[in-house]
């Protein structure tokens, strides 16, 4: 009988432990990955600028979702990957490019599926004749997390300062 009682106590204690341990996981909201997401987006932005400076069109396009939009001043919205690719190709048709950004702020949704980046850019472009101009403006990007965990741009929107 003493053994039985001891076992009963063990069972009762185990039940309590199991309930606490088993349930502490379930109601918890999804893990907050915002810090890591922010770092991944920052990295993707840097890699995109490097790819543009290297005039690697395929690499540039790899940072866009399959159905992106691109807003640039002085032209209607560019919709769809083929159209964005064409616009990008035109952008890369220069002698040299230097793309810089500053004051970037990234807001990642708690769920880690969407993120929004904004800030300032400075594009220094050397055209085919060797003339160099610098243009400054503002950017606002919509980033979407892909099924493989990478982040890609769904909307690339820009406004020049002048």
């Amino acid at each position: 009988m003493r053994t039985d009682r001891a076992l009963s106590l063990v069972i009762a204690a185990s039940l309590a432990v199991a309930m606490v341990a088993g349930c502490s996981e379930a109601p918890r909201p999804p893990m907050d990955t915002r810090k890591a997401d922010e770092a991944a987006i920052t990295g993707a932005g840097v890699a995109l600028a490097q790819a543009a400076e290297a005039k690697d069109l395929d690499k540039c396009m790899s940072f866009y979702v399959d159905d992106p939009v691109l807003f640039v001043p002085g032209a209607p919205a560019v919709v769809g990957k083929d159209a964005v690719r064409q616009a990008f190709a035109g952008f890369l048709e220069v002698q040299a490019l230097k793309l810089e950004t500053s004051g970037l702020i990234i807001d990642v949704a708690q769920s880690g599926d969407l993120a929004f980046e904004r800030g300032s850019y400075s594009n220094t472009i050397t055209d085919a004749k060797g003339k160099t101009t610098t243009e400054t403006g503002k950017l606002a990007l919509v980033w979407k997390k892909q099924t493989d965990g990478s982040w890609k741009i769904a909307a690339d929107t820009n406004a020049s300062d002048r």
Binding site: T3, D4, L7, I11, S14, L15, A18, M19, A21, G22, C23, E25, A26, P27, P29, G45, L48, A49, A52, C60, V69, F71, V72, P73, G74, A75, P76, A77, A87, F88, G90, F91, L97, L99, T101, D107, A109, Q110, S111, D113, L114, F116, R118, S120, Y121, N123, E135, G137, K138, L139, A140, V142, A155, D156, T157, N158, A159, S160, D161, R162
Partner: protein, 188 residues
Amino acid sequence: MLRFRSFSLMLAATLAAVSLGACSHQPAALPDNRAADAAAVQKADADWSLAAQSKQADTWLAFYADDAVVLPPNEAMATSKDEIRKSITDLLELPGLSVSWQTTKAEAARSGDLAYTYGTYELTSNDAKGNATTDHGKYSEVWRKQADGSWKCIVDMWSSDLPVAPAPAPQTKHRGAKHSRRRKHHAN
């Protein structure tokens, strides 16, 4: 020993049952309100365009969150409330102004804290000679859900569709207008 073993088995079985059973009634995931959130943001955007018809800065500014930034074309980013008020006031004071916009797309995050919209706008104003000129373009907005459940805009950007004027005319520069006369392509 036999008895002890049966207790051990019972213990194991009970633990397994409790582990499985205890949590099955808990919600597996947060409810998915993305469609409702997107609809709410789209409605807020439509309400904003309607409210803009009053041409009152306060009415317009009420759609911005306290930490909003405005990224208009042809001028610097407006990050403080004063800068935003000045930028919007300049826009609303354009002579003969008529402005409206329409959402093309609205999408919300799974967590319901952030969302975005983009769309197209039309703007008519009078030039220096009093002739009505029409501009049209596109905009993008980021929205954040507030503590009271309403959505407020935290990032507002727009730019004109119209190509750069071939000869830069030195006439009146409409600061704050949704006009952009410089063609460019920008990667990031």
